[in-house]
Symmetry: C2
Subunit: 252 residues, 2 copies
DNA sequence: CCAAAAGTGTTCTCGCTACACCCATGT
DNA sequence: ACATGGGTGTAGCGAGAACACTTTTGG
């Protein structure tokens, strides 16, 4: 990373010299680094996000994304997993974690300059959150129900960017399986696409495209319990990560 | 931003309380925030990146990406533009700037924990860099010539991620025009795709697809000076940003 | 007239859509 | 039997690839 060449302040700010001592003598306030988590799952066929109601100023009473500061020496992913486990009681095996973008406008947090790395976490049927400290409430929100709600900080923007990222990645990656349990049917997989994209897909065509994408699915010998019709074959996720050809959402 | 809810350290570290005072009393060293720039342009039909040869430890003598620390209160984009102007003498009008990803592994800089936001900057026929302070050398490298070279820090990874991002975005956005001057011909545009993707494209088919993509190009009444054949019509960039249908690189 | 680059036309193929149709189960 | 969801077959359409062909310039 960094500091490739002329360190902009290397000759002005002692904090940037040598081994980066921990206490700069200057009175310049520090920039803080945080992670924000956009935890997405499907609840009853609805794409849903985990939000927390703030119990402190600023934005007291507003709904916000879970997040927290990064500790010195901690990996970005590690911090995201820690927040996930602290605030959503989710182990690292249960979710797919992926960096979305970093937000660092100086005015986004009224208390100071906070640079926040947004992480998207996708999981299958995640449990109801435990209420953490300093939290008035915590619960899953269906994306559709968030229309009139205004989120704290710039979290509406962050959430919007993450959802669009997820929608887009379903097209050309095998990301959809992260919304499902270990074993699943093609119908369940189609349900993921329909829920995330908000449109219905032709069952027959979807079946063909999904089963023919190299590396997407592994066929099992078992079938799911029937739900009023022919029992569906079970599959698990294949080893591939990219979907060729892609599964496009374009066609109206 | 953030700090949505239970601030992980809000009750332990005074720096995270109230208005975020600038001088924590604890002895925990600070995390520093930097930007790294992947400046890409076309030089003689070759996709090229601006690198700087380090004049200080660590990695003294190695080639690295230009970069610098973010100042308190400074926007991420603003910091990127500042580094661009300081180290590459490029004004903000000349380039397209876009965030790629943030790298924050604690061991990536031996001097301390530096979280670095990578920005990709694309421009048309950018000038040779001026040599900044603390820089042994600075020059354009053709991507192809970098094969055996090992870059400082984790910059090889950062560069690789950026190039793949650029290649991919040419498919479904109008990003290619940022590599060209204000007015250009379809052949020049095709040359961008060929250089970045490293493969040749059918001139006729490309012409049709480019001119028929809504919002991609604006046709001008003038023509370029002929180069041994029929003079090519001039175009300038249209107002659209996404390319529908996309221009895929898949075929062979 | 010839070479070379800019554009246009044409054919073939392949993937997707729509929808008909058969399969396997519960009631 | 019939309803319901799982899965396959198939005709038609539309976009891309390959390449022939026309246009417009310079030598």
């Amino acid at each position: 990373m960094s500091r490739p060449t002329n360190w902009c302040h290397s000759d002005q700010n002692p904090a940037y010299r040598g081994r980066m001592s921990s206490s700069p003598q200057s009175s310049v306030p520090e920039i803080h680094v945080a992670v924000d988590l956009i935890v997405l799952t499907l609840r009853g066929g609805e794409l849903s996000v985990l939000l927390i109601q703030r119990d402190d100023e600023p934005h007291k009473g507003s709904w916000a994304l879970p997040g927290g500061f990064i500790e010195y020496g901690e990996d970005l992913d590690g911090a995201a997993y820690r927040v996930l486990s602290d605030e959503a009681s989710l182990g690292s095996g249960a979710v797919h974690l992926e960096q979305v973008r970093t937000f660092g406008a100086p005015g986004r947090d009224p208390r100071g300059h906070v640079v926040s790395v947004a992480f998207m976490a996708l999981g299958a049927d995640l449990p109801d959150p435990l209420r953490g400290e300093d939290v008035a409430d915590a619960r899953w929100w269906s994306i559709a129900d968030l229309d009139g709600i205004s989120l704290a900080f710039d979290h509406a923007t962050v959430l919007e960017a993450s959802i669009e990222r997820a929608r887009s990645k379903l097209e050309y990656t095998t990301l959809a399986v992260t919304f499902l349990p270990e074993e699943f049917t093609i119908s369940q997989l189609r349900g993921v696409y329909e829920s995330v994209w908000g449109r219905s897909l032709d069952a027959g065509n979807f079946h063909r495209k999904a089963t023919r994408s190299e590396g997407f699915l592994v066929e099992l010998d078992r079938h799911a319990a029937p739900t009023g019709g022919r029992p569906a074959r079970l599959y698990r996720a294949g080893s591939g990560t990219s979907l060729v050809p892609p599964l496009l959402r374009a066609g109206d």
